[in-house]
């Protein structure tokens, strides 16, 4: 018999200009929940991609169930009963749940005993059963594009179970989930472990690790720092080990001093592409020096509100006033000039132009203004100088500085670039959607501090976040949205986490 179900010995993986994994050895026992923790770009995803056969390691060995293996492809990994839920879901958006799950392992039947076809009906039934068995509550005939992220993630889990995976890898599975969904997922993970599965969990969230994991490997800059027994280690120690310094998520916050109203949203209505009303008569106000947070389960209209204010979506009714001026007919550019900063939800398709350089991306909102542009001609030097200033100030790490193509940067650093650009716009209204998503704790700490600083400088801040802690720790006022309607608006101190959670589920409506 073997001692470890998974052993990765002395793994090294290089990418041009960087050593993503540097001589890493991890050993995982059957039936344990093994967490991997590390800063952005520490090499977690890379290490797991190697285990899943997506990259070949430059050096090192992999042993599965006591046997030395070379995992050449995900297919190969699947044969070894390894499954992975990727950080970015690998789903075909116009396929149904079933079609996605059976892809690659399609059950075949023969029409008249001759002509083969994919037996979707039979598969639907099997998957419905599987979903029931693990309490996943997924409708096999629903299309992916009609599902929210939490459901999509469950599809990914079903995919692994369908393939009878024994070793399940989760790469930041909770980054996109609400607290309730996170709870639910962690329950599922524990359920799976009870069923005899081995689980590897990448996460930035220490409480989650604390709650479910047995052991935890800590990576920093591609190196393995330590492997800890989770039960015997405090989250604080874990955090410090990971970042390599003291961190604290307790933000020091002076009491807010509200000034005059900056943003006034009145009876806002928005329809989505399918012409369904997703924002219904929403009204609220934000003052100078106020952090107004919209709490809600993903997909309840909060992103549409943000998009509507920023001008990315057309509104269907109501008005948006910025410093008393109705801006609801303004173009995006006019709104930016009028004074809106915006960190969008989808940073890769909206926030950045991945093929442009970091410098250009940092100037993306004011490239057309002096000193970056004079009489229609861009001034590259000024743009780069500005970029360097921001890179320094916000600790944006990349291989070639302003000249780095943003596509090459790690996700966390891409996010930092957007945050830097938007804060530097110095707008009276700042809209932050999920500003810390996918960031490591060190970076989260910094960004939350900055948000508070901006508030203290007298900015009005609209925060949209799925993470209740984030909302509870920095919001002054909380508006809770459910099904496109604001359920409740109240000062943060007057609400408990539990109450907010209930409003979010529409329970007290």
């Amino acid at each position: 018999m073997y001692e470890y179900i998974v052993e990765m010995r002395n793994i090294t993986k290089r990418f041009p200009g960087i050593v993503a994994n540097d001589n890493i050895t991890i050993q995982i026992k059957k039936g344990e929940i093994y967490a991997i923790l590390g800063e952005n770009g520490a090499g977690k995803s890379t290490l797991m991609s190697i285990l899943f056969g997506m990259y070949e390691p430059d050096e090192g060995e992999i042993w599965i169930r006591g046997e030395r293996v070379k995992i050449l492809s995900p297919n190969h990994a699947a044969k070894l009963n390894i499954g992975m839920v990727h950080q970015h879901f690998k789903l075909v958006h116009n396929y149904t749940v079933t079609e996605n799950i059976i892809l690659g392992m399609e059950p075949i039947r023969k029409l008249g005993g001759l002509i083969p076809y994919v037996d979707i009906k039979g598969a639907n039934k099997n998957i419905a059963e599987l979903s029931k068995k693990y309490g996943l509550q997924v409708d096999p005939t629903q299309k992916i594009e009609d599902m929210n992220v939490s459901l999509q993630q469950r599809v990914e889990i079903l995919k692994m179970l369908y393939r009878e995976a024994e070793i399940l890898i989760f790469d930041e599975p909770t980054a996109l989930l609400t607290p309730q969904e996170t709870d639910y997922l962690l329950d599922i993970i524990e359920e799976l472990r009870k069923g005899g599965k081995t689980i590897i969990l990448i996460s930035h969230k220490l409480e989650e690790i604390k709650r479910v994991a047995d052991r935890c490997a800590i990576l920093r800059k591609g190196k393995l720092i330590d492997v800890l027994d989770v039960k015997e280690t405090s989250t604080k120690t874990m955090a410090n080990l990971m970042v390599g310094r003291e961190v604290s998520l307790e933000i020091e916050k002076k009491p807010a001093k509200f000034g005059p109203v900056v943003l006034e949203v009145d009876n806002l209505r928005v329809k989505n592409q399918e012409k369904v009303e997703v924002v219904k008569n929403v009204s609220f106000k934000i003052h100078k020096g106020e952090v107004f947070a919209i709490a809600g389960v993903a997909g309840n209209g909060q992103v549409e509100i943000a998009d509507a204010i920023a001008g990315l979506t057309e509104i269907d009714g109501g008005s948006i006033k910025l410093n008393g001026v109705d801006i609801s007919k303004y173009s995006i550019r006019e709104r930016t000039i009028e004074g809106i900063s915006y960190i969008p939800e989808d940073r890769q398709s909206y926030g950045l132009i991945l093929d442009f350089s970091l410098g250009e991306n940092l100037a993306l909102k004011d490239y057309y203004k002096e000193p970056f542009c004079h009489k229609g001609v861009l001034n590259k030097d000024a743009i780069n100088e500005y970029g360097n200033k921001l890179i320094e100030k916000y600790d944006i790490r990349s291989s070639l500085g302003v000249n780095t193509q943003v596509r090459q940067m790690s996700g966390g650093n891409q996010q930092k670039a957007i945050v830097a650009r938007e804060i530097e716009l110095d707008s009276p209204l700042m809209i932050f959607v999920q500003p810390t998503r996918g960031l490591d704790i060190g970076a989260i700490e910094n960004i939350r501090k900055m948000i508070i600083e901006e508030r203290d400088k007298g900015k009005a801040i609209l925060l949209v976040s799925l993470e209740l802690d984030e909302i509870m720790s920095i919001a002054d006022t909380i508006g809770i949205i459910f099904n496109g309607e604001i359920q409740k608006i109240a000062p943060a101190e007057e609400l408990t986490t539990k109450e907010v959670g209930e409003y979010m589920m529409g329970v007290t409506a």
Partner: protein, 389 residues
């Protein structure tokens, strides 16, 4: 075993030579295309050899025919200079057409309708100015202006249809290509036909963008005014995309239209603008083709240079300077082929096969660049390890 090692070593020297030649990233945009063109000629040599002809002689004739090398004898009033000038005359529309394609590509659009835009521009310039009695001082600029307007409007229309109705620009361009071809054929056949040449009647020399039969030092030269304009505009375009605000916006929309929208760029307007610009260059290609190199229009025929321009634009890596270089090379092959076929006795189609091959290889240039990079990294890594040990 030892043989295998030998092979490996041989492979290594080969690799090293290639790396040495092509490895320098600063020059790769030049070295790789040159290397690929070289490869194409080797492939063509094999074909010519297999037909029992001498490839080197053939290529020499090709260059002679294009006016790059002197011919042994020249006809009356001709010399290498006149041949070279007519090469420039020939390549002018190709530069414009390729630039048109490149502009659209930068903006994330594919202008497959360059030929149609060329035809439309050429037609209007021909009937409005080409047949008029205007003095050249007025006529020539007007021809350019009409080319710009006609091409720009049609390009803009394609952009507008995409913006307003989400009509894929490839489809609308193909439809316009057909419609323009047929409708103009109707007008040419009905009103402007020359029964001898079976094309539209020749335009007046005053309107021509090529000064034909200019007599100088006992030579008759064709001097292309369009060529000068093409070079100037290519330089302007390069600066435009590198430095100007609008160029930046076009590139942003091309790279990520959602991101551009978020950044406050008016995506629809930029898209239309891109197509207008692209159309303007197509229009210029059209007038320099129909009122420069030629002086009349062949009805119901789309100029193939509109399609070749797509490939040339890529060969030039959508960089205006690269496009000038690529047009130059393709033009040499086109223009030299008659003489090559006459002197070396190889079929003229060989020339199009060479062109096809250059384009084919150049389509792989990104891959080669990538392989070289990977090779270099692994060599550097090996070297690093050896040093460590």
């Amino acid at each position: 075993m030892s043989e295998k090692n030998m092979d490996k070593r041989k492979g290594n020297t080969f690799n090293r030579v290639i790396l040495k030649l092509l490895g320098n990233e600063k020059w790769q945009h030049l070295t790789i295309p040159i290397f690929l063109i070289f490869l194409s000629f080797i492939a063509a040599s094999i074909i010519i050899l297999s037909l029992g002809k001498n490839p080197l002689g053939a290529f020499y004739n090709l260059l002679q025919g294009a006016g790059i090398l002197p011919k042994p004898s020249y006809a009356g009033y001709k010399s290498m200079l006149t041949d070279f000038l007519s090469l420039l005359n020939y390549m002018t529309p190709m530069i414009f057409a390729s630039l048109a394609v490149a502009i659209a590509l930068k903006g994330g659009l594919f202008n497959i309708g360059v030929s149609g835009q060329m035809l439309l521009a050429g037609f209007f310039a021909t009937i409005l100015i080409g047949y008029s009695e205007l003095n050249w001082v007025i006529a020539k600029p007007l021809v350019l202006l009409i080319g710009i307007i006609a091409g720009g409007i049609l390009g803009g229309l394609i952009g507008f249809l995409k913006y307003k109705f989400n009509i894929n620009e490839v489809v609308s361009s193909i439809m316009f290509n057909y419609i323009i071809q047929y409708v103009l054929s109707f007008f040419i056949h009905s009103y402007y036909i020359d029964p001898v040449s079976r094309q539209s009647k020749y335009i007046n020399d005053a309107a021509r963008l090529t000064l034909v039969n200019v007599e100088l030092i006992n030579l008759k030269m064709d001097i292309s005014i369009g060529f000068v304009i093409a070079i100037i505009l290519a330089i302007v375009l390069k600066q435009f995309f590198d430095k100007s605000r609008i160029g930046f916006e076009i590139k942003a929309v091309g790279a990520n239209s959602k991101g551009a929208k978020y950044a406050g760029i008016n995506v629809g307007k930029t898209m239309i603008l891109t197509m207008v610009l692209s159309g303007i260059f197509s229009g210029l290609a059209g007038v320099t083709y129909y009122l420069g190199y030629f002086a009349s229009i062949q009805p119901k025929t789309l100029p193939s240079v509109g399609f070749d321009g797509i490939a040339v634009a890529l060969l030039g890596n959508t960089n205006p300077y690269g496009i000038i270089g690529a047009s130059f090379i393709i033009s040499i092959i086109d223009r030299g082929s008659t003489y090559m076929s006459s002197m070396a006795g190889v079929r003229k189609e060989i020339a199009s096969v060479i062109t096809g091959m250059i384009l084919l290889f150049s389509a792989c240039s990104a891959y080669i660049q990538y392989r070289i990079r990977a090779k270099k990294d692994s060599l550097a890594f090996m070297a690093g390890r050896e040093a460590e040990e």
